[in-house]
């Protein structure tokens, strides 16, 4: 399969959130405003890329029984480093994201990607596609939720004070509704059903 095809498949046809139904916890929980979604998506994508490279290189030298532990160990080191770095750069964002930065360790997108045995170029292209697809999905959800809940997008006010906010969009149940409807929209565009085939 060509490089471009693998990449586009990861972004669109196999979008982690809307098609594979992975990484739903950050997609539902951490997307209250668009900037936070973008930051979290980029962090997850970067960690996925580095972890894919490290795990692909180290895996042949490690017995099969400890592959899960290897993945978790690599991810824990990377997430701790990113967390420390983010505290120094933008502490406010770390407080707002709360538990969702540590939860990157058990992100379904990353764990599913790392469990595949691939060559190094395949792993890099696949990780890039999935990372960008995940970021795009998070930003779309974040824009919709921020607009409904506060009347603004990326901190730019679009609706003035007359707008009475749709407060439900700021809560987890409202987010579940929005993500479910978006998934249905993507399914309708592709002409497919929303069942899981694994």
């Amino acid at each position: 399969m060509s490089v471009a095809k693998t990449f586009i498949e990861g972004v669109y046809h196999k979008n982690p959130v809307f098609r594979l139904m992975l990484g739903l916890v950050p997609a539902v929980g951490a997307t209250t405003v668009a900037w936070n979604s973008l930051y979290l998506g980029l962090m997850t994508g970067a960690i996925l890329l580095v972890a894919a490279v490290v795990v692909t290189i180290v895996r042949p030298f490690v017995p099969k029984a400890v592959h899960t532990i290897l993945q978790i160990a690599v991810l824990t080191v990377l997430v701790t480093a990113v967390h420390r770095w983010a505290v120094g750069v933008n502490p406010e964002m770390v407080i707002q994201l709360g538990i969702y930065i540590p939860l990157i360790v058990v992100n379904g997108v990353i764990l599913q990607r790392l469990s595949l045995v691939q060559s190094l170029p395949e792993a890099v292209v696949g990780a890039l596609g999935q990372g960008i697809g995940f970021t795009a999905a998070l930003v779309i959800i974040g824009i919709i939720r921020e607009f409904l809940a506060y009347g603004r997008v990326f901190d730019v006010v679009l609706l003035e004070a007359q707008y009475s906010p749709f407060a439900l969009a700021n809560t987890i149940p409202g987010s579940l509704l929005i993500v479910g409807l978006l998934m249905a929209l993507v399914n309708a565009l592709m002409g497919k059903g929303g069942e899981i085939h694994e």
Binding site: M21, L24, V25, V28, H83, P173, L177, M183, A184, G194
Partner: protein, 183 residues
């Protein structure tokens, strides 16, 4: 007594892991296909969560003073607890569990709720109680959603909504109902 009941209600309703915190959606989409798998998954997570909470409390009070936001530490506790219960339960439940149980146990529920313990005001033995209550809430949530899913199988759902989308929307509606119980 009333304090314990209050903690239980808080864990099951007010801070319900699935509906109010949005954690464990992997379990919600994968393990609710039948009541059987939902009960087993709920029980396994309840056991692992309680064990991890007890371990957290003991290590905190006897070895370290504070575990606040110590990410590697929380992850190691969750991993050990998940692997312990995986070894115990795979032999008993082998036919029904697909894939490795450790990978499924180590989803966002375990790590997420251990990280949330502090914001729930857990101190000392109350950590174990809150862990148990959160596990009960999670198991009940899975069972409820398995029941809803069985009813949905028989309903004429539009093609695009079938499967996960309608499941998430149903979970959102249950969550909205639980929001009425803020006390």
């Amino acid at each position: 007594m009333s304090e314990g009941l209050g903690a239980l209600a808080q864990g099951v309703i007010q801070n319900n892991l699935i509906f109010m915190q949005g954690l464990g959606l992997y379990a919600l989409t994968r393990w609710t296909k039948s009541l059987d798998t939902a009960v087993r998954a709920g029980a396994a997570v309840l056991a692992a969560l309680f064990t991890a909470a007890v371990a957290l409390w003991m290590i905190e009070s006897f070895i370290f003073e504070s575990f606040s936001l110590n990410i590697p530490f929380v992850i190691v506790v969750a991993l050990l607890s998940a692997m312990f219960w995986e070894k115990l339960l795979t032999n008993v439940w082998r036919p029904a569990t697909e894939g490795t149980l450790a990978a499924s146990l180590l989803n966002s529920v375990l790590v997420g709720s251990l990280l949330l313990m502090e914001s729930w005001g857990a101190q000392g033995p109350a950590t174990a109680g809150l862990g148990f209550a959160a596990g009960v809430g999670f198991a009940l949530g899975l069972v409820v959603m398995a029941g809803i899913r069985q009813r949905l199988e028989l309903s004429p759902v539009p093609k695009a909504l079938r499967g996960v989308p309608i499941l998430l929307i149903s979970a959102g509606l249950v969550g909205m109902a639980l929001m009425g119980f803020r006390f």
